[in-house]
Symmetry: C2
Subunit: 344 residues, 2 copies
């Protein structure tokens, strides 16, 4: 089969690789029908060291089940399934807590031997991981359903962990697909005011359609001052940080209200950051977030997509065949595309 | 009157200073009957640079109202009152949220012109700040009531912000008076397992009486391993960090369970710390806490002391007159006393 392999920063190739095979009775193999490129794929696209063996890419997928291991009971050959970016058994102590990304038998497709920007995918812990899409679902819904493998539910995770709800003022930092998803999720959760910090008008326009009540293009101290002004000098109850770079985090503690919450879902490209009296502690700010526990939300949000309540697939503004995926990376890196759908 | 003044690390003096006078109609002046030395007073005791003008010390007090400004309505001359370590108006947006330490008219007695280790104290925003102790309250309850100005309610804040409740496993880092208070508060809030990390047997013995189910004397990697073993390898739902130094924070993220919460009340003696994928983010851990919003809890917890449900004053193991307060600092610094009560 063909799969996407990255060999170094900027070096993305589609190559022939062996088909995945079942290795455990809990595995399934799917034929990938929809995949995509994630903002987080751009991190290795910028800084992956030379990797002679290559790194398989992609962690978002919808596909059709081709084969299941002997222990798999909830999936049948021919089912269309959504596969979250992390696999999980659904039964361990952490899965029962809803922290499926910390499953004791779990893992991330990113960097795994089988990843999703490919014609086929090996799904470990298939019963716990994959969620079946009802037979006969309209093909037009597939882009929105694909966002339930990562991007929309990552925005939802940010909002959920941050305690977004009615009456709350929410600031979303970042106008990428995750930030826009966080806007949409915040609106769904009833936020009263949603301030989107971003500087790309085509993106912030979609953010307004998703529910943003204000857009702040300025960054740094100037951006912080604008958010404080919008909030009557009080700051934002909840800040959703959907970038992952330190300046975004610094903006977050600059705009958070005393007693408020910063919820991060942009994978931090730093380890150390300010958390002392001058940043978080002094104003009793809470820092939360992490890899989205997509699987824990998926079944509850699926009906909202199926019945048209939300249309998170609008974040896809380009579609390419697998053969052209390197162009998809380039378009997203150059900000000529917001998010690229791939059809293997 | 006499007041405690620190001029440099280790240089604590009791000196004659002018009596405080009302400066605003919302002020009150109290005669301090009970004060104490706080673990956080030891930070300047270790590192205060030479300060020719001196720094007034103390932020915990019970006293008798001597004089009130014309706008004060809830206090009368002769009332015995508890004064939290921060003053607050009780009416601003942040006070209404319960974040009284961020009051827009608030401040901290620490380093203020009038502080509590003195014969008299100027209390700004007296109506919002001071809480009246019912007339006729037994003198024997005063030490426990004094802990409601800071130490017990700081432990309570840690536990409350951390989400301690029935069924939860809680690890308390630090066997100082705040850590022991956090143990007692966690027991009150119904924690199932309370692991106290501390190495001073006399203190951890009191911790067991306050409700600790386990004591771990080891620190660092060894201490983390012991806590993980006690929790069946899963980690602690809540970690209460009552020290303020970076190694305690590192222990905290080492023992927190995926999806769990670290609640800090030890004033951080650092600004930057690990918060990335390897520490907090990867396991969806939440970091919360800050200066205790003592005033927001005081009225709810007061009856528990008055009716004998809790006896947090047991953290006081020495009592000294104001004249000997320098000895009180020395005893606490040398760990010969847990917490020293001062009678001006």
């Amino acid at each position: 089969m063909r799969a996407t392999v990255m060999y170094a920063a900027g070096d993305v190739r589609v190559e022939e690789v062996p088909d995945p095979v079942l290795t455990a009775p809990t595995d399934a193999v799917i034929r990938v029908t929809h995949a995509c490129v994630c903002g987080s794929d751009l991190h290795p696209y910028h800084d992956l060291p030379d990797t002679p063996g290559g790194r398989r890419m992609g962690h978002e997928a919808i596909g059709v089940v081709e084969e299941v291991g002997s222990a798999v009971t909830t999936l049948s050959v021919g089912d269309t399934v959504i596969v979250p970016f992390a696999w999980s058994d659904g039964t361990c102590a952490f899965c029962r807590d809803g922290i499926t990304t910390s499953c004791v038998h779990g893992g991330f497709f990113d960097g795994a031997p089988s990843a999703t920007q490919a014609e086929k995918l090996l799904v470990p812990q298939a019963d716990g991981t994959a969620v079946v899409v009802p037979a006969g679902t309209d093909e037009a819904l597939m882009p929105s359903l694909l966002t339930l493998s990562d991007v929309y539910l990552t925005g939802h995770h940010a909002a959920h962990q941050g305690g977004v709800g009615p009456g709350k003022t929410v600031t979303v930092i970042g106008d990428g697909a995750v930030g826009l998803s966080a806007v949409l999720a915040s609106a769904q959760l009833g936020a009263e005011t949603i301030i989107l910090m971003g500087r790309h008008t085509d993106r912030t326009d979609l953010g307004r359609e998703f529910g943003a009540t204000h857009v702040v293009a300025a960054r740094g101290e100037e951006g912080i001052a604008e958010v404080l002004e919008i909030t009557g000098g009080e700051g934002s109850h909840v800040v959703l940080e959907a970038v992952g770079h330190l300046p975004a985090y610094e903006q977050a503690y600059g705009v958070v209200r005393p007693g408020g919450t910063i919820s991060r879902v942009g994978v931090p490209q730093y380890e150390d950051a300010p958390v002392g009296f001058a940043s978080l502690f002094g104003k009793n700010a809470t820092l939360t977030g992490g890899p989205a526990t997509v699987r824990a939300y998926l079944e509850a949000v699926l009906p909202q997509v199926l019945d048209g309540t939300i249309d998170p697939g609008r974040v896809f503004d380009r579609e390419l065949p697998l053969a052209d995926i390197a162009e998809g990376y380039r378009l997203m890196d150059q900000r000529q595309a917001l998010k690229v759908l791939i059809r293997p």
